[in-house]
Structure formats: structure tokens, C-alpha cells
């Protein structure tokens, strides 16, 4: 088969240099990174392969590559790289590139490239929320109205939560389809039998809820309990806690907003679980990651892109404003006060959702398990295909 001609994309190289701090050009392809990587396999020799692809600006190869999602940035590669080329950071940069590659609107690319674009985008969304709020609830609460009257949960659902859920769903789905097109369909070669899509679906669910692959970032031969005791699982577990808390809170506000506006303090166990514990998880997780990013002691927190900061800060502020809002309701603050706290909370929450979820760092929540699922699909299909052709040979 005639190989496609190699085309180096200098713009891509420039872009990847801008969205991270990897010195990938310094790589001389020794392969130490892939050798020390606990997750890299013979078939998927990342990050070595990504280093040279990026060095040469091979855009198509990179866009169809799932491996950046399979890397969890343990940092072993960066630590051991003889040229200090930061392969771990390259994988991070490539995830940023992939987010913008799946995004057909082109918004991600701008947000990643320009710091101020992100600030402006957030301000615009916040402003939009303010305008919508003014249109729905007015700028002042009606005198003497209860909270339920001033800020009706139904209206919040109807004008805010559900539209955003639909918007995010549509965007993410279309991006994931784009990802599917680029990574699974474009590969040529093996066709994936329909059955495999279902048989492999468990991996999608399993990895979404456990982030199990994260735990494999440490391949030392210790028992799980020992790793737990020595703190080797801290990052994974905190990350998992943060993600679960987030998902719980998101489901809560979309489907059970009433619970959050209930005026009694400790009504039901499920409210405590969903609301309070998840809020604590959110706060703990975001503070933990902010500290890591500030101290820069571990490889994966050494470099912080502006989008990393924005995501964790927005998440923290969302949680914080949510807790204050909840407190103001439980402690019966004046409705007019709650009215404004509510508005502020939404002006933080919505930029976080609209900007971060489809166009920025949040999206890895979706792409990571999907990437594992896609990778499994391809592998499964390949092994099936291999088995078939072997059988065919035997028959002949």
C-alpha cells in the first residue's frame, strides 16, 4: 500500500508548544519514557511515539491517537528523561490539543491558546446569566416574597438547568462522535463488529466510576493496602472523590433542585449524603489540587496551564458559593440576600459549565473513559480479526 506522504505541520508544533511546557523537540528517541511508563505497552509505546509525531508535527496521526487519554501523568517519564524533554507534559499538552481537535466549533482552540479569551468567555457567560436572571426573576426580589416565590426552582430548572443540560449533552455528544470518527473510524484496517460495542460497554461504565486506570500509575510491587497506607493512592482517590462529588451535585441540581432549596436544615438522609457530603468532597478535592499545583512537588502538578487553574478555581468557587447559598437558606437569611447570593452562585456555576465542560479541561471527565472504551473496541476487533484470519489460513 502506498504510504501517505509525510506532511509536517509547523502550526501544530507551535500550538502544542503554546499549550504546555514540554520540550518535545529535545527528544532524541531513546525510548526511556516508554520503558519506565507503567501503562505503556508494546502496541502502544507512548509517550515515545507521541514525542516524535509532535516533533514532526504529524497532525493526522496525533488527532487519531487515543493514547494521550490513556496516560495519567504519573511523571515517571519526565523524571527519567535524559534530555529533560518532559514527555509527561507533552501528553498533557496533547490532551489539550485533542480537546480542541474534537471540538468542531473551534472555541476550545481559542480558549487554550489565549488566556484572556477564557476570561472574556467566562465574563460573557456570567453576563448572560445576569441578563437571563433579570428577565426571569427581575433585578430585585418582590417585597415579602418567600424564596420559593422569588426564585422558583421550577423556573431555575426550566430556564437554566435543563437548557444547560441539553446544551452540554448535545455538545459533548457531537464532540465524542467527532472523536469516534477520528480515532476509531479513520484508522482504516479493522472493522469493528457491532456486538463488540455492547460487550465492551462495561469498560466505559467501570472506568467512569472507578478511574481504575489511575491506580495503575504506580507499578511498584507492593500490596494495595501498603500503597494505600503509604499514600500512593492519595491522588487517585482524591481525584475520584472530587469527580463523584461533582457528578452527584450535578445530578442533584438538575433533577432534585427542590432538595437544595428546602428550608429545613436536616430533613432526609439522602439530602445529607448528596448535598453535604458531596459539597465537602468538592471543596476538599479542589483545595487538595490547588495546593498540589502551588507546591509543584510532584511531576503531574509541576506545570499548570491557565485552563488548569481556571477549572479548579471555578469548581472551588462554585462549591463555595453553593455552600454559602445553602447556609443562607438553612439559616434563614433575608430573602433579598439569598436572592443575590443565588444569582452570584449561578454566575459562577454557569460559566464553569458552559466553558469548562465541552470546551476545556472538564471534558476529560468524558473523554478518558470513552478513550479506554474506544481503545478496547479496537483491540478486541483486532484480536477477533487476527483469530479469523488464522482460522482462514487453517481452513485453506
Amino acid at each position: 500500500m502506498e504510504k501517505a506522504k509525510i506532511k509536517t505541520d509547523n502550526d501544530l508544533i507551535g500550538y502544542i508548544k503554546e499549550v504546555g511546557e514540554s520540550n518535545f523537540k529535545k527528544c532524541f528517541q531513546c525510548g526511556t519514557c516508554s520503558a519506565v511508563c507503567p501503562l505503556s505497552t508494546e502496541d502502544r509505546p507512548f509517550p515515545r511515539k507521541e514525542m516524535i509525531w509532535t516533533g514532526w508535527g504529524l497532525k493526522e496521526k496525533l488527532a487519531s491517537d487515543l493514547d494521550p487519554w490513556l496516560c495519567y501523568y504519573c511523571g515517571e517519564c519526565s523524571k527519567n528523561c535524559p534530555r529533560k524533554a518532559e514527555p509527561g507534559e507533552l501528553m498533557m499538552s496533547l490532551r489539550r490539543f485533542l480537546i480542541s481537535a474534537y471540538d468542531w466549533t473551534g472555541i476550545s482552540k481559542i480558549l487554550y491558546k489565549f488566556k484572556y479569551a477564557e476570561y472574556i468567555a467566562i465574563l460573557i457567560v456570567a453576563l448572560g446569566v445576569l441578563i437571563e436572571w433579570a428577565a426571569v426573576f427581575g433585578l430585585y426580589p418582590a417585597a415579602g416574597a418567600s424564596l420559593g416565590q422569588a426564585v422558583s426552582p421550577d423556573k431555575i430548572d426550566y430556564f437554566f438547568d435543563w437548557p444547560i443540560t441539553v446544551f452540554l449533552g448535545v455538545m459533548l455528544t457531537s464532540f465524542i462522535y467527532n472523536m469516534f470518527r477520528k480515532t476509531v473510524l479513520s484508522g482504516g484496517g479493522v472493522k469493528i463488529p457491532l456486538k463488540v460495542y455492547f460487550t465492551e460497554a462495561w469498560s466505559l461504565v467501570f472506568n467512569f466510576f472507578t478511574q481504575y486506570r489511575y491506580s495503575k500509575c504506580d507499578d511498584s510491587e507492593e500490596t494495595a493496602s501498603k500503597k494505600l497506607a503509604s499514600g500512593k493512592y492519595n491522588f487517585w482517590l482524591t481525584h475520584l472523590l472530587l469527580m463523584i462529588s461533582y457528578v452527584v451535585l450535578f445530578a442533584g441540581i438538575v433533577f432534585f433542585l427542590g432538595w437544595f432549596q428546602a428550608e429545613n436544615s436536616l430533613p432526609y438522609l439522602h439530602i445529607i449524603l448528596f448535598d453535604y457530603f458531596a459539597s465537602i468532597g468538592l471543596m476538599f478535592g479542589t483545595v487538595y489540587f490547588m495546593i498540589k499545583r502551588l507546591t509543584k512537588k510532584i511531576e503531574r502538578s509541576k506545570f499548570s496551564h491557565h485552563t488548569d487553574w481556571m477549572f479548579v478555581i471555578l469548581l472551588f468557587l462554585t462549591g463555595l458559593s453553593g455552600i454559602i447559598l445553602r447556609a443562607s437558606i438553612v439559616y434563614h437569611f433575608a430573602v433579598s440576600t439569598i436572592f443575590y447570593i443565588y444569582l452570584i452562585h449561578l454566575m459562577i456555576l454557569f460559566p464553569m459549565l458552559v466553558i469548562e465542560v465541552p470546551f476545556s479541561k472538564w471534558s476529560h471527565l468524558a473523554y478518558r473513559p470513552v478513550a479506554i472504551y474506544f481503545a478496547n473496541l479496537k483491540e478486541k476487533a483486532k484480536s477477533l480479526n487476527l483469530g479469523n484470519s488464522e482460522n482462514a489460513e487453517i481452513r485453506n
Partner: protein, 776 residues
């Protein structure tokens, strides 16, 4: 010379505790009838030395036998005037008591034998009469390039007159007409115009009163020897001094540099398909042209095919290098020059992409920093791989390169507008003359013996070293020596006239002639400057030593030299053919014409001579023969009474035995070691002497030979092995097993192998039984 023999036996260093010294002294007295024979417990101490000095002045002792430690130890203490006293060191420490059981009868016999052997040698040896002469001390530098200019300037700075001969009409050499140097220091951004750097050097050479320059000139012939080379310089017509001029020089530095590998042979990499495919040298020339010879710094590199600015360019490294079918070696400079070209392209055509396809990037030492800097350039793309094909697409006017085995884990297919082939260096070490005197292409010469122009290159490269005794490849055109062994410097490999550089940098195989710079091995200008200095030191050393009648490396300061008893010569020409340094010419009849100044005193000629007319004052067939004859051969057929003679090369094998002694590792007491200057100096008569005397086996311990030989005299150990094959026929005729003679190749560091080597041979000889000639 009188034989006033004094034998001094040291009993220090445990010698006294391990041997019966009284018995040793008495045995030495009985066998050798010395004037003085005594023992002392601390011979190398002041008292011991005073004792010897007293005997020298009072009893006129002129043959000293010092039975103590190895001749390699205490050289500063046992240091008596070599011109009036022969000092024979007998090694009863390292070679006797340290490797044999103490107070054992066999150990005692071993020591007695060594003392007798030393005394026999001392009796026959005479003091050297050095050939002190008033010699010319001018350095002739051939080639006015970077190396030659530096050699000339450094020789002049050291106070020596210099003659500089350059074939072109200007100094500066190969790089002079090229574009820019690569910068050697970080941050690597000041590529200076090559001419700028060289002009200052040329200026100081031209202004030096000690340097006489011949431009447009070639060497017509070189005859004579170090200190008295006769140089015929042929100047081109029309110059100031046209015609043939004769000059005299003391030593010669060959700095003739290199030429690029013939690009016509790079057809497999697309050379010739389109003018857009150039070699690295052609690119440099193109640059010079575009810059109007340095008048302008800012220009755009344009395609030769259509004059459009270049937007993509590829470099193929090792084009025809490190390739068995072309140049099998690395030329060391191409990686740096390609990186430099890449940097210049990026500077001149900022939008151009540069692709570098390499087998390995080799940037030595600090040059690595330049590589790193270039690697970081966004427009430079490097990949390791093997180029599997280059084609030209005339529709798109593009050069297509296919690369396999890349680090992409898949093949690459790349289109570029321009392609540069980074081809290697070929030494300017002379043109090969074919059988009918036809000049062959120099590029073939690097790999091909003079077997014929049509033979394929490459396969014959490995066999480039001619067999022993065969004349060297017949090259000419550079030095045009009138030596019997060929007109040019013998080459080590691939046409480079180096010696064995592992041990001896700057050393050469023609005394007083030192190749330096890129002709010696692929070097860049920076390394060539150092190489020039090294060669200058060698050249000066040679002139000074030769004037004092002393040898140069490796037998530095040796004042002996071979004497040829010519009336008895049979004109067999073996000595003239086999001398590793071309020291012996011959007349029409084949009578050797020995040049002592060219000689390294290895004794290979002495070993070669079938009629034994070649001898040194202290080393001759007769002297060693009498040593052999002084070995006591017991007749009782017991295991202890086998006698094995070991000829040990003084350069590696003898020290290895010493180190074994230092480690106190036992060795068979059956052996008797005779140090030899080189295994090549072993004359076949010694085998006859030994075997007829009743010696049961002979072991030769010498250096490694072959392609990566370690023989200090180049061919000595190989010649010994070659001559031994002839010997074996003689042995068979005498109904002696040929296994009684064995040669082992040994490195200095192999000393731990010695017990096994010796044991193995002793057992072999024992299995053959005693020498039947014993007792005759």
C-alpha cells in the same frame, strides 16, 4: 671489548629467603669465571651501588650482570654509562622467586640458568657506538591547509626552520573557498566566514622569517633519511621559482588533507537526477556563490532548478559513509556540517523546513550542544532511518525520499524541494597505480588493493591489508619517496596513513615522516590544529634524537643499530622486503642499503636474514644462541626436567610476566624466558640452537597481529608466525613434532591467562615426550 665480568646477586626482596644464595654464587662462578661474583642483601641501595661502582673503577668491570629484579624495575638506580659498560639485568625476582615455590630445587635451577644466560649474553655483548651526526633540522610541511599552516607555524615557534609546500596557488587549503565555519562555542550563533579565521593564520605564516613557502608546487621526490631528507620540489610553470628546486629537511609532516567522496557514486541516493540534489561540499560552494564570496550576509537560498526560494530541504547523513559498499568509516564532520547548513538555511529562508535523516548523529564533545540547539529549532526535523530510495518527480519538480526502519516505527515518504547528500572524506594520501601503471580513481583506492580497476569496491575492503611480505599498494603523487617499499606512506586502513593509533597517536610507519590532520584520519579543523601540534612535536623529537644517534619510538633512546656484514650477503632481499619501516633500500643487485636514521631497531631484519649477517652490538643470532646454549639440560626423563624456551616480546609479553610475578602467581618451573625486541627479530637459527641442545619445546609470546594489530613494530609478530610455518617443514624433516613450537598472541593485560597458556603448552610438550636430540 674486554670481558671483565662482574656478577652481582641481590638477596633482598625475599630472594635470599627463597633461594640458596651461596649455591647460586658458586654456580655462577663455576660456569662463567667472572672477575667478581658476589651477593648483596640490598643491591639497589646506596651501599650496593657503591660496591658496583668501586669494582668498575678499580677492577675495570665492563660487563655487569645484575641478578635482581626485572629489567623494567630500578632503571634509575642500575644506571651505568651505557657507552663503556654493558649492563645485563637478570630477573630472579619477578621471573623466579615470585612465580616459583621457595627453596625448591627446580626454583634454584631456574635462577642458576638465568644467571648463566645473562652472563653468556654479557660476555658476547658490546657497548653501542651511537651514530652521532650533525643533521639538518628543517621541518618540511607538505600541504598548506589548516593542518599544514598550523604545523608550519608551530615548528617555527619552536625555533625550527620550515619549508611549506602547497600545490595550489594560495594557502588555506580545502576549507578556504568554502562558506562559513561552524561555531564551536555556545551559543553557537556566530558562524564566521571561513576566510576570516584562516586569513590571520596565513598572514602569520607568510610573515614568519623561518617559513619558506612554495606555492603552486609539488614534491617530485623525497630521498634520504631523517636529518638528511633530499627533497625535490617541482614548481609549476610561470611561478617565481619554476622548475625543480632541491631542498634538505630533517623531518616531514604530511598534511595533505582530504577530498570529498566521488559524488558520481551516490547515484543510488539520487545524485544526478536533478540539480536540486547536491553534496554537502557543493552546497557550501553554492552558498559562497550566493553570498558573492562573502560580500553579502543576507541572501535567499534558491533552487538550482527554477530559482525559487527553497521551502523544504532534506539532508541525508552518511551518504556513502559507514557503508561497506562505499566508505566504511565515519568521517566525523558531516553531522556538524549538516547541522550548520541547516542553521544557515533557517536563517536565510526562515520559512523553510529542514529534514535530517541520519543513521546516528555524531557530534563530538561540546559539539553536542550545537546539536541540541538545532534540535530545538521548530523548522528542523530529524529522524533516524535508512534511506531506501530517492526519486525525482518532474511533474511536481520535487525530490521524493523513502525512508525505512525509522523511529516512527513505519516507513516515511517525504517530498522536498532540495536534497543534500552529506558525503564523507577521502584522504589525500596519493593516487593508486594499477598494474600497468595506470592511475586509478583515488576513491577506489581507499578500498581496493591494486588488483585491477574493474574489481568491485567494498567487498575487498576487509582484505585491504596486503599479506605479509607483499609490497604495499603502490601509491604515488604526494611524497614520492624513493624508498624500496613504496612511494607513499603505508596505510593503516581505508587509505589513511595512520599507524596503530590505539597505542601511539601521531606515530607513523616511516621514521621522520608524520601524517597529520585529515589525511591521517577524518578530522575537523579544530582537531586538525591539535593534530598539527602533535605531529610537530614528533617531527622535532625525531630530528633531535636522530642527531644524537638515538632511536625514536618505541625503542626511544636506544643507541644500538644493526650492522650488516655485506660481503656475506646473498641478496635474498628478505630484510628489505620485511623491514616494517622501510629503512632498508637496495641496489640493483638486491644488496641492502641500510639507512640507520630511518631504523627503529626492532631487529626484524635480523630475524629475517637466513645467513645471519645482521646483528646489533648487544643483540644478535650469536648472542641469543649462546644464551640458549648456556641453559642446563638435565638428562633424566622426569617431569621437572622438561625444558621449555619462551621468547617473550619485551613490549607486552615480558611486562605481563612481570605483573604475574607481582601477583605471586605460580608458573611452571620448566620454562626459561628470553626477552626479545620483537618476535619479528627471532632468527630461525635459534630454534635449531634450542632443539639441537635438547630443549623440548619453544613458546613465543608476542603481540596480537592482523587488522587490529598491537605489535609495536607493526608486522613483527605476524612475521614470526609466518616464518614459523616455514620452520615447521624443517622440524618435520628432523622427525620432530611441529607442535613443539607454538606462538601465542598476548596483550599486556592478559597476564592472568599466562599460567594456563604455559601449563597448556608444557603439558602438550610432555605428551610428545622428551626431545630425542637431548644429550647429543
Amino acid at each position: 671489548m674486554d670481558n671483565n665480568l662482574g656478577i652481582y646477586i641481590c638477596s633482598g626482596c625475599d630472594i635470599g629467603e627463597s633461594l640458596n644464595i651461596e649455591r647460586l654464587v658458586n654456580a655462577a662462578k663455576d660456569s662463567n669465571k667472572p672477575l667478581v661474583c658476589m651477593s648483596h642483601e640490598f643491591l639497589c641501595g646506596q651501599e650496593g651501588i657503591n660496591l658496583i661502582n668501586n669494582d668498575i673503577s678499580e677492577k675495570k668491570i665492563n660487563k655487569l650482570v645484575i641478578a635482581a629484579c626485572s629489567m623494567r624495575a630500578k632503571q634509575d638506580v642500575f644506571n651505568f654509562d651505557p657507552l663503556s659498560i654493558h649492563t645485563e639485568r637478570v630477573n630472579i625476582r619477578e621471573h623466579v622467586i615470585w612465580i616459583s615455590p621457595a627453596n625448591d630445587d627446580n626454583t634454584q635451577l631456574l635462577a642458576e640458568d638465568y644467571v648463566n644466560m645473562g652472563a653468556s649474553r654479557a660476555k658476547k655483548a658490546a657497548c653501542p657506538e651511537p651514530l652521532i651526526q650533525d643533521l639538518n633540522k628543517t621541518v618540511l610541511v607538505v600541504g598548506g591547509g589548516v593542518t599544514g599552516l598550523n604545523a608550519a607555524l608551530n615548528s617555527a615557534k619552536a625555533g625550527y626552520d620550515v619549508i611549506l609546500v602547497e600545490k595550489k596557488s594560495y594557502l588555506g587549503g580545502f576549507p578556504y573557498s568554502k562558506y562559513k565555519k561552524w561555531e564551536t562555542k555556545p551559543p553557537f550563533d556566530k558562524n564566521v566566514w571561513i576566510k576570516e579565521g584562516l586569513d590571520a593564520l596565513i598572514n602569520s605564516v607568510e610573515n614568519s622569517k623561518k617559513i619558506k613557502i612554495y606555492e603552486n608546487s609539488k614534491i617530485k621526490s623525497v630521498s634520504g633519511a631523517p636529518g638528511k631528507f633530499n627533497i625535490e620540489i617541482e614548481a609549476a610553470e610561470g611561478g617565481d621559482n619554476s622548475g625543480v628546486i632541491t631542498e634538505t629537511a630533517g623531518s616531514i609532516i604530511e598534511a595533505t588533507g582530504w577530498k570529498p567522496y566521488d559524488a558520481k557514486k551516490l547515484g543510488y541516493l539520487g545524485y544526478g537526477l536533478t540539480p536540486d540534489i547536491l553534496t554537502n561540499v557543493e552546497l557550501e560552494e553554492f552558498y559562497s556563490e550566493l553570498s558573492e564570496n562573502g560580500k553579502t550576509e543576507s541572501f535567499t537560498v534558491k533552487r538550482k532548478s527554477n530559482g525559487e526560494p527553497v521551502k523544504s530541504i532534506a539532508f541525508i547523513q552518511c551518504a556513502g559513509s559507514r557503508d561497506a559498499n562505499h566508505l566504511p568509516y565515519c568521517s566525523t564532520v558531516c553531522c556538524m556540517s549538516s547541522l550548520k547548513e541547516a542553521a544557515l538555511i533557517r536563517k536565510n529562508n526562515p520559512n523553510a523546513n529542514v529534514y535530517i535523516i541520519y543513521k546516528d548523529i555524531r557530534t563530538l564533545g561540546e559539539y553536542e550542544n550545537f546539536y541540541r540547539k538545532m534540535q530545538d529549532d521548530e523548522g528542523i526535523f530529524m529522524v533516524k532511518g535508512v534511506v531506501s530510495g530517492v526519486s525525482y518527480d518532474d511533474k511536481g519538480n520535487a525530490v521524493n525520499i523513502k525512508v525505512k526502519d525509522t523511529l516512527f516505527a513505519e516507513d516515511i515518504d517525504l517530498d522536498v524541494e532540495m536534497l543534500v547528500l552529506a558525503s564523507g572524506m577521502v584522504p589525500n594520501s596519493g593516487e593508486v597505480e594499477g598494474p600497468a601503471g595506470i592511475k586509478l580513481d583515488a576513491n577506489d583506492a581507499t578500498c581496493q588493493p591494486a588488483s585491477g580497476a574493474g574489481a568491485p569496491t567494498g567487498a575487498s575492503c576487509a582484505a585491504a591489508n596486503p599479506p605479509v611480505g607483499a609490497p604495499q599498494i603502490n601509491k604515488s603523487g604526494i611524497l614520492n619517496l624513493t624508498y624500496r617499499q613504496g612511494k607513499e606512506m603505508p596505510e593503516l586502513a581505508y587509505g589513511f596513513p595512520d599507524s596503530n593509533f590505539i597505542c601511539f597517536p601521531y606515530e607513523s610507519r616511516r621514521t621522520g615522516i608524520y601524517p597529520a590532520g585529515a589525511v591521517r584520519m577524518p578530522l575537523d579543523t579544530v582537531f586538525s590544529v591539535d593534530d598539527a601540534k602533535g605531529a610537530v612535536l614528533k617531527a622535532i623529537q625525531c630530528m633531535e634524537q636522530t642527531a644524537k644517534g638515538r632511536a625514536v619510538h618505541p625503542r626511544s633512546n636506544d643507541m644500538t643499530y644493526p650492522f650488516f656484514d655485506l660481503p656475506r650477503c646473498t641478496q635474498c632481499k628478505r630484510c628489505t622486503e620485511e623491514c616494517p619501516f622501510g629503512a632498508i633500500d637496495e641496489d640493483e643487485k638486491g644488496t641492502p642499503k641500510y639507512n640507520p636514521e630511518r631504523c627503529r631497531r626492532c631487529g626484524v631484519c635480523m630475524g629475517a636474514c637466513p645467513v645471519r649477517i645482521i646483528s646489533f652490538k648487544n643483540y644478535s643470532p650469536d648472542i641469543i644462541g649462546s644464551m640458549i646454549k648456556s641453559i642446563y639440560i638435565p638428562e633424566e626423563p622426569t617431569d621437572e626436567n622438561y625444558r621449555i624456551l619462551v621468547f617473550a616480546c619485551e613490549n607486552d609479553a615480558y611486562p605481563a610476566l612481570d605483573i604475574l610475578g607481582l601477583n605471586k602467581i605460580n608458573l611452571s618451573s620448566n620454562i626459561r624466558v628470553i626477552p626479545v625486541r620483537c618476535l619479528g627479530s627471532i632468527n630461525n637459527v635459534w630454534y635449531a640452537d634450542a632443539l639441537s641442545k635438547g630443549i623440548d619445546g619453544i613458546l613465543l609470546l608476542g603481540c596480537k597481529f592482523g587488522d587490529d594489530y598491537q605489535c609495536h613494530f607493526i608486522k613483527g609478530s605476524e612475521l614470526a608466525s609466518y616464518r614459523m610455518n616455514n620452520l615447521k617443514e624443517t622440524l618435520t624433516r628432523l622427525v620432530l613434532e611441529e607442535e613443539r613450537v607454538r606462538q601465542i598472541q598476548l596483550e599486556f593485560t592478559d597476564y592472568m591467562k599466562l599460567p594456563e597458556i604455559v601449563e597448556d603448552f608444557v603439558n602438550k610438550v610432555k605428551s610428545l615426550g622428551l626431545n630425542p636430540y637431548k644429550g647429543f
